[in-house]
């Protein structure tokens, strides 16, 4: 009864293809696929295989008047008609809840879809209340959408889709931007909703293991091609699991297990002493009393080891990381260099001039784009060595070496913003490494470096970090990637409720 319309929608694609505006090659071509009403389909493929585009096309977002420009070919039918976003009956939930909430108040946001469909006012509010009850939204209609956690926001987005009475539910990595708690919350909700409804489901998800219970069919598409595997999950994974894993898909039982050099360990490089941090001034959120994110935290970061900061989103992992990297100053207390780093400059890190800081402490941001400052991959890597006063030949040899090591050589003259997600991540790591005196800075701080990466980039990153660790560098990672934690963590620090508590790695 959850999704009011009794039957799910039937989806039919025949010879369907899509080419992004301005690209020479097709993202998908020759897709032949029939999804019967009520089927639960997991759509898989290497990154760049056009899976999101296929979802957008099913939602009717690729028409001539849409923001998504490109050429469509072949036939696409939802219940025997061309996909249309104006008819209702289709719900789309994408990755980032932040970019999907439209209104300032929770109830208004859920009402937005029904309003657009021209539903009568009285019925809108009964739909809104039912949708909010279905997703277990714990607050009232007037609750501010800005004051929700990531998982709560995504539940509200799902409520917004449910209020449109979807018979076809399209989910595009709905838990990718959430921490483990938020992700579990949304997956539990989806499992419950799907057990109560007959809606057809098409799901795109890289972390396959987490959604296996939600689907009964797996369809694999090939970049530039069509469907290459289709069937029950067990069958598809036993026949194609290895090949999919090699293309970067996270297949259950085929997770990468890199062979890594061990951690040499070493003396402390950084020390946080009695650090207290407050959140930065928030624009727009009213009546939020100043609270502390970190309260009197003491922590040392040793050389030749990986220190992992874990804990729920918003608990202060990233704040602690920017403090340790010397990018911001704490409200009280200080972050000071130790050992070899203290011989360069004894002052707290936040007082170091930026140029010196960049030479000795490299930072990799969660969104790689934030740290690009030039218009070409090569310039991005030349930037720091040239500023450090290196000669032209020395700079060139170092840039060449870094581009080889991170597979960026063919992309030397490309604009950083136009790279793919994995390429951007590799470049952002390369820029952090480029500034150091010995081909890498002494301390490396990374914020969710493996977030959203396929298995290939994941493995490369982990191997690179392990190499740097073996060279005796201090590495700090804020992450909730369980696999990263199990492969590459020497000290685990849990950041929650204002505290940072070191846990022994078992």
């Amino acid at each position: 009864m959850a999704l009011a319309n009794a039957r799910g929608a039937r989806v039919e694609l025949s010879g369907w293809g899509w080419k992004h505006a301005g690209r020479a090659a097709h993202a998908l071509r020759g897709v032949d696929l029939v999804i019967e009403p009520g089927e639960r389909v997991l759509l898989l493929g290497a990154s760049g295989a056009g899976k999101s585009t296929l979802l957008h096309a099913l939602a009717g977002l690729t028409g001539p008047d849409s923001a998504i420009g490109g050429d469509q070919e072949g036939l696409l039918r939802v219940d025997g008609e061309p996909a249309s976003r104006g008819r209702g009956g289709v719900g789309l939930v994408a990755q980032d809840p932040e970019a999907q909430l439209v209104m300032a108040r929770a109830g208004d946001d859920v009402a937005f879809g029904p309003e657009n469909l021209g539903v009568a006012r009285g019925e809108i509010w009964s739909r809104v209340e039912r949708a909010l009850a279905e997703v277990g939204f714990p607050y009232g209609l007037g609750h501010s959408t800005g004051a929700l956690s990531g998982g709560e926001k995504q539940r509200l987005v799902i409520a917004g889709a449910l209020a449109m009475r979807p018979r076809l539910l399209l989910l595009d990595e709905p838990t990718a931007n959430l921490d483990p708690v938020g992700g579990a919350l949304v997956r539990d909700l989806l499992a419950r909703l799907l057990s109560e409804s007959e809606a057809t489901l098409v799901l795109v998800e890289h972390r396959v293991a987490e959604v296996m219970d939600l689907v009964d069919r797996v369809v694999v598409v090939e970049p530039g091609g069509g469907v290459i595997a289709d069937g029950a999950p067990a069958k598809v994974f036993s026949e194609h699991g290895r090949a999919l894993a090699e293309q970067g898909v996270w297949v259950p039982g085929e997770e990468p297990s890199p062979d890594l050099p061990s951690a040499p360990g070493g003396a402390p490089m950084l020390a946080a002493e009695g650090v207290t941090a407050r959140p930065p001034f928030q624009l727009g959120v009213r009546a939020a009393a100043p609270r502390t994110v970190l309260e009197d935290v003491d922590l040392t970061v040793p050389a030749g080891a990986v220190t992992a900061l874990t804990g729920p989103n918003g608990a202060g992992k990233s704040t602690l990381l920017t403090l340790l990297a010397g990018l911001t100053g704490p409200h009280r207390g200080r972050v000071v260099p130790r050992g070899a780093l203290a011989e360069i400059d004894r002052r707290p890190l936040v007082r170091w001039p930026a140029r010196r800081l960049a030479r000795h402490v490299g930072t990799v941001f969660q969104h790689a784009e934030d740290q690009f400052v030039t218009t070409e991959v090569r310039d991005e890597l030349r930037f720091a060595p040239l500023r450090a006063g290196l000669g032209e030949t020395e700079t060139e040899s170092r840039v060449g070496e870094l581009m080889e090591r991170l597979r960026l050589t063919p992309l030397a003259n490309v604009h950083p913003y136009t790279l793919s997600g994995g390429e951007k991540r590799r470049l952002s790591v390369a820029t952090a490494l480029s500034s150091g005196p010995l081909h890498a800075p002494d301390v490396l701080a990374l914020d969710e470096p493996t977030f959203g990466q396929d298995t290939r980039t994941w493995t490369e990153l982990v191997e690179l970090l392990a190499e740097l660790r073996a060279e005796g560098r201090a590495i700090t990672v804020a992450t909730h990637d369980g696999l990263l934690l199990s492969h590459l963590t020497d000290v685990r620090v849990r950041v929650a409720e204002g505290r940072a508590v070191a846990e022994e790695d078992e």
């Binding site: 957008h56 939602a59 977002l61 849409s66 923001a67 249309s84 976003r85 104006g86 289709v90 719900g91 994408a94 980032d96 932040e98 970019a99 999907q100 909430l101 439209v102 209104m103 300032a104 108040r105 109830g107 009402a111 937005f112 879809g113 029904p114 309003e115 657009n116 469909l117 021209g118 006012r121 809108i124 509010w125 959408t145 800005g146 928030q282 624009l283 727009g284 959120v285 920017t322 990297a325 990018l327 001039p353 930026a354 140029r355 800081l357 960049a358 030479r359 490299g362 930072t363 941001f365 969104h367 784009e369 934030d370 740290q371 690009f372 400052v373 720091a384 913003y417 820029t431 500034s435």
Partner: protein, 241 residues
């Protein structure tokens, strides 16, 4: 309404019309008295605005600065002496204050509802602006991150003003790229929820009450009184006269 009427309880559309009316109505009169009467009347409304004291105090600072600086500039460089300078400042404040009051006493959602349902503003721009407002805190966060990222890359302006300007525009560009990215995602999400596919219904009703009509009548009366008094006193100076 049992308690005293507050500006926050009025329809945003009415407040907007009243503010526009005062603004346009004061354009022809350049003397101190006409503007002064209107400003005094509007200031009398402030205690009834329903805005908390903290917000008022925060906003009063820049507002007074605006008035003082325009008076100072006109006194120093203008041709009408002190009286002319005060006239300019009073007129400026009398035109700006009602708009400010209308803005801070209205919830953005109610404002959009009022604009669409009462003033028949097209849905697309009104809802678009409303959705964009939600992104403001997001972009403020972005700005902070971009600033940190520049330091991480070894970029810091130091005390060179030329560098300060250059780095500022570099950061601005990075923010613009992010804003476009988020804006496109949000537009896609709005499209996915059938936005702009046909006539919309409205979940909330933007009500027009007697108090809203009274506000408009009061505004017209206020302007009439201000002009009449000023003309009787012989102080009225019209633009281009």
């Amino acid at each position: 309404m049992s308690e005293a009427p507050r500006l926050t309880g009025l329809n945003p559309a009415a407040k907007l019309i009243a503010a526009l009316g005062i603004g346009l109505g004061l354009v022809p009169a350049v003397d101190v008295v006409t503007g002064g009467i209107v400003l005094a009347a509007v200031l009398l409304c402030v205690p009834f605005s329903g805005v908390d004291r903290r917000t008022l105090l925060i906003l009063a600072g820049p507002f007074m600065l605006m008035g003082l600086s325009s008076a100072a500039v006109n006194y120093l460089y203008g041709e009408q002496g002190l009286e002319g300078a005060i006239g300019v400042a009073v007129r400026l404040l009398a035109i700006a204050l009602p708009g400010l009051l209308a803005a801070i006493t209205s919830d953005p959602t109610d404002m959009a509802d009022g604009l669409v349902q009462r003033l028949k503003v097209p849905e697309r721009p009104a809802m678009g602006v409303l959705a964009a407002l939600r992104l403001v805190p997001l972009l403020a966060d972005q700005w902070r991150t971009i600033t940190l990222a520049r330091r991480a890359r070894g970029l810091e302006a130091g005390y060179n003003p030329l560098n300060v300007v250059r780095l500022f525009f570099g950061r601005l560009f990075a923010l613009l790229v992010r804003a476009i990215r988020i804006g496109t995602l949000l537009a896609t999400a709005m499209d996915a929820r059938a936005f702009g596919t046909g006539p919309r219904t409205h979940a909330r009703i933007s009500r027009w009450r007697v108090a809203d009509t009274l506000l408009l009548v009061g505004t017209a009366l206020l302007l009439a009184v201000a002009y009449t008094v000023s003309a009787r006193l012989g102080t009225l100076v019209l633009l281009f006269s």
